[in-house]
Amino acid sequence: MWHSCARSRSAAGAQRESAALLHAARHAFALAWPPMLFGAALLYAWTQASARGWVDELILPPPGEILQQLSLGLSSGVLLPHLGVTLLQALLGFVIAVAAGIGVGAVIASSPLVERCFNPFLIAFEAMPKIAMAPLVIVWFGYGIWSKVVLAAVIAFFPILVSTILGLRASEPGRLDVLRALGASRAQEFRLVRLPGALPFIFSGINVAVVFVLLGSIVGEFVGAKQGLGTLILIANENLETARTFSILAILALLGMLLHFGVGALRQRLLFWAEPRTGSPPA
């Protein structure tokens, strides 16, 4: 009886799937046309404004010139190494922030006493704008990539830490009972119940962190660096090459979106079970 039920579900599934695909495509188009139309209109207005001399080219260069700078930068091979440095700094900072945020979060959430000890300092440190530490971090770690990695990690650390503590605190007592009744160790409790249960929370922190690491990387480069897209922006700005600045900003926007999608893919892999589905909520 159970077998046949499962089979008939998958048989009808194929047909339903193709219908669902068509539906999804229509849905995507319905979602996509307003921003596309809006973007096209904006681009047209921008081009016209530049062509008619309504805005100074130094303030807002025409889209064509930005595109030209972009292709020049990429084809000449000038941009790529700098992009690589900035991305590397951001990624290293991200990995460190995730590891440290979850690790420290686990320690802090391990006992109410520890949490009470840490709490006031965490609040103070969280309230401080971490960006203000940038000059200090450069003094500590020098002009190489590590000062940017550290700055990126410090900024991204807090959202992950806070969401980890929240997630671990929200552990379902019933699920913990199942493990405790088996005589599980605290390490097993953490690995088998607490951490996976906290993942939806942690990911909301990671979504913020992934934006912050790029921010930390660029600000670090502004304050003192030999390489990176941030240094390129400073140079372009000094030479009043506004179009170049814009082309680098465009690259940064793409980079940010890339990181965001990377996190989205990771989320899909790890949180497949927490995605909203039809039917009753998970037990």
């Binding site: 159970w2 077998h3 009972d177 405790r180 088996l182 005589g183 088998l192 079970w273 009753s280 037990a283």
Partner: protein, 277 residues
């Protein structure tokens, strides 16, 4: 069902000299957030013999789950004594399998991986085949790879039952395990539970709201009073085992059910004469 195994099992109505579990003068007070104290249990005594099937019935909120959690080693803060095989009870044991009132599955694990959880905690190797067998036994063959979110409430509860059996515990503690099941599946599960208990000579402590279920499965039924929970009656069920579902037609079955029903409904239950001891 399995008559061969049944023959080897002595009929136990009352506990023998050394019970598996001996509870004396057990009281439990919960502190509440407002600083009040809730007396959940008051001076409970109970014995469970090895291989015995004991059910606990009582009104909602009378402290049944509290008793079970103490037996499972999940509550350490109580008054009185709980001894297992004559020794003072200290914490959880791998000899115990618990099915909680809620399924408490891990939503990130498939049904099969949920059943395998005890193997992971207790570091038992090569349990996949057994886990699949247990899933099939609870009527979930073919659902191994489903996530809890894709199962119905009753199916989840059956996964939880399979999970509690995986490490082959000697003592099963069941807290209304079939509450979420429809009547027919419940009957099937009852027969299955009776078969498992007899075949593997498990000791079973079952909390249930169904008097018929308690009478059908048990050697003894304990009846609890409303809060603070006390055990007001202990009824030996001396219907021959194994029992088939047709026992429902038996007069003695019906009489016993009615008797327990009266105990639960009626007031002043303590005055009713006890037959058990």
């Amino acid at each position: 069902m399995s008559t061969v195994l049944e023959a080897a099992r002595p009929a136990i109505a009352t506990p023998r000299a050394a019970p598996l579990i001996a509870v004396r003068e057990l009281s439990k007070v919960y502190p509440t957030a407002k600083g009040e104290r809730v007396q959940a249990l008051s001076h409970i005594a109970l014995d469970i013999a090895e291989g015995e099937f004991v059910s606990l019935v009582g009104p909602s909120g009378c402290g049944k789950t509290t008793v079970l959690r103490i037996l499972a080693g999940l509550i350490g803060d109580y008054a009185g004594s709980v001894a297992v095989r004559g020794r003072a009870h200290c914490g959880p044991s791998r000899e115990v399998g618990v099915v909680f009132q809620d399924a408490n599955l891990m939503p990130w694990r498939t049904a099969l991986a949920n059943v395998l959880l005890p193997a992971e905690v207790l570091r038992l190797k090569g349990q996949e085949a057994r886990a699949k067998e247990l899933l099939a036994m609870v009527g979930l063959a073919g659902f191994e790879r489903k996530l809890p979110g894709e199962l119905s409430g009753g199916m989840r509860q059956r996964v939880a039952i399979a999970r509690a059996l995986l490490h082959d515990p000697a003592l099963l503690l069941l807290d209304e395990p079939f509450g979420a099941l429809d009547a027919m599946t419940r009957d099937t599960m009852n027969v299955e539970l009776a078969r498992i208990a007899a075949a593997s000579r498990k000791t079973v402590f079952l909390i249930t709201h169904s008097i018929a279920e308690a009478v059908f499965l048990s050697d003894r039924v304990l009846v609890m009073s409303p809060r603070p929970g006390r055990i007001v009656e202990e009824i030996a069920i001396d219907l021959p085992k194994p029992r088939g579902l047709d026992i429902i037609a038996d007069r003695r079955f019906a009489d016993t059910v009615v008797r327990i029903r009266r105990l639960l409904d009626g007031e002043g239950t303590a005055q009713l004469p006890s037959i058990a001891h």
